[in-house]
């Protein structure tokens, strides 16, 4: 089988054709931080956390949607990248109201973990303190927009795996929000099958099982990959 050979952080590595930089890096044991990416779902490059440097390109490229090419030179870690990643995380924290100590996902939150892993020391940007609602009209689940980072994993899992497409994004810029059906309360969204895949996919405490108190919301994010594999590859072993 033909492979692409390229340079990853100064070392020659190979990748299967069509593999993204992110996939090739993982195959070679190199970690690139991600947030909007979830195995089993399509990639959209929304969060920009996986930005990498590619020799010859003045712009940073998101590893999750950049295909490997023969002879490319990729750098996944540099002071410049670390700075950008920290800035992205700071902006995410400043944009909405993330209050870790009382959050249902405290200790099980990907945003929190990325902030720690990437040495996000403080937030340079003014907190926006937007006034956002919590929707717990659904019988079993709730969405707290204060904690949403607009990664759209919920939108993709609902569309691509469940096939219901209950979730979508409305609004522009800082006014963007995930919505259910035609921007109706979740409890009134007739397309929702109550499958709970969006709950498992959510990286933060934004989508949660109702009744959760602080730190109780553990997402089983690998369930999404399991279902995707079961469907596409007819494999049922986790």
């Amino acid at each position: 089988m033909a492979v692409n050979t390229f340079t990853l952080n100064g070392e020659l590595v190979s990748a299967s054709p069509g593999a993204t930089v992110l996939e090739a890096a993982r195959e070679n044991g190199v970690e690139i931080p991600t947030l909007c990416e979830l195995e089993g779902l399509s990639n959209i490059g929304a969060c920009r956390l996986c930005l990498v440097e590619i020799a010859g390109s003045p712009r940073l490229q998101p590893a999750c949607v950049t295909a490997t090419t023969e002879g490319m030179e990729v750098r996944t870690d540099s002071e410049r990248l670390r700075q950008y990643r920290r800035m992205i995380l700071e902006l995410l924290f400043a944009e909405r109201n993330h209050v870790c100590p009382v959050c249902v996902a405290n200790g099980h939150c990907e945003l929190q973990s990325r902030a720690i892993d990437n040495g996000m020391e403080f937030v340079r940007f003014p907190y926006q303190h937007p006034d956002l609602p919590v929707d717990i009209t659904h019988a079993r689940f709730g969405i707290d927009h204060n904690r949403c980072i607009l990664c759209t994993r919920c939108v993709r899992v609902c569309d691509e795996i469940e096939g219901a497409h209950t979730w979508d994004v409305a609004g522009r810029g800082t006014g963007s929000r995930v919505i259910t059906d035609l921007n109706q309360p979740w409890g009134d969204a007739t397309t929702c099958t109550t499958c709970g895949k969006c709950v498992e996919a959510c990286p933060t405490g934004a989508i949660f099982r109702k009744g959760s108190s602080a730190g109780e919301m553990e997402h089983q994010r690998d369930r999404i990959r399991f279902i995707a594999d079961a469907r596409s590859k007819r494999e049922w072993t986790p």
């Binding site: 100590p101 009382v102 108190s213």
Partner: protein
Amino acid sequence: MSSESNAGNARPGRTVTIDPVTRLEGHAKITLHLDNEGRVADARFHITEFRGFEKFCEGRPLWEMPGITARICGICPVSHLLASAKAGDRILAVAIPRSAEKLRRLMNLGQILQSHALSFFHLSAPDLLLGMDSDPASRNVFGLMNAEPELARSGIRLRQFGQEIIEALGGNKIHPSWAVPGGVREPLNSEAGERLKARLPEALETVNGALDLFRKIASRFEEEANALGDFPSLFMGLVAEDGSWEHYDGKIRFVDADGTVVGDGLDPGDYRSFIGEATENWSYLKFPYYKPRGYPDGIYRVGPLARLNICERMGTPRADEAWAEFRKNGGGRPVSSSFHYHHARLVEMLAAVERIGILLDDPELVSEPFRAEAGINRLTGVGVSEAPRGTLFHDYTVDRHGILQKVNLIIATGQNNLAMNRTVLQAAQHYIRGSTIPEGLLNRIEAGVRAFDPCLSCSTHAFGQMPMRVALFGPEGERLDERTRD
């Protein structure tokens, strides 16, 4: 926070302002109003209020409230945790599992123990053991340590024991909300249970030692007992179905100064029907009163003194004896002097230690389930618990999905507000002669307020500090005298 706070008041006469200098906008200051004859006519004890916090909670899901409210106060987090979870129980309309109730009780006993230990051994004991007229420079916990170092150390260990109970149940900071609407999240693990049991004998010994000490010195304080908030008032608190001491559940009882039960079997959930909340233009704080008696005649006290005055027994052998001895101070009627709050705290510590021992041996403590599951079945719910300082109410209104629409908290220190004013007034009337401020008065006011162990740390940690600034104003508002104590 200015000493001229009375400037807008047209009252003739002088004003003595005892003004704790705190670093934030909240404050607790004491003002005394003198009439033209130089007699103390009125006393006002000002405390910061809670409004901001209540607004802060609105819009949150019900299930998150225990975790949020437990963070109001570093001194009595458990009281808020339990009152909040109980308000949630009511909104879910569930009877929580028996094991969960017992576990919550265990935690509340740990809380009462740690809070009373701090109050008695470190705040009150210096006044009591060293005498209230001793030099303030040494009449403090340091003077106490020089005189009784082992007492101070055992007090610390007792407080740690209470804290350990709380931490054994509630865990570390990853899980601030151990009690949840419907029950609790985790039982006590058996290893922690054994560790706590092993510490019981020492705790008992410490409390008994403190009671012995108190007996020895109590006679020295007859003047204080008479001048420190000895006035008729109602007493309010929870009482168990069988009339014994209660700290977690039960019904509300009001007893008057003669010991007559004037209100009994009252559902805490109906508190609005029997507790009124008056407002005064000079204070942000509400003034709760017993409705049938009107305002301000419906003045009532809550906390250890009240709980011991309304109950018929403690319910455990050693505490029952100590309670009977305590009640002798009242000579057949409720004990009316606020000075006896100190004694009441000791009796409650004894009851707490005994009850902790009983609970730790209870097999039901570890029998599942620990949490009832339910949805929103009512739109309002009132949770109540006996905090170390008195009855605490959390009153929530939610929408049909469980989002908080309205939050009302009635805290113990607020309910004792009127009584603290009376206590300060009484001390001032007893000790003020002329237009200067005697050092002894400051000591008495401080001790008078301290008897209630008011917790002013609810808003920021700085509120606990009470350095005092005392200013004396003439009839025209001119400053005659000023004293500061850090």
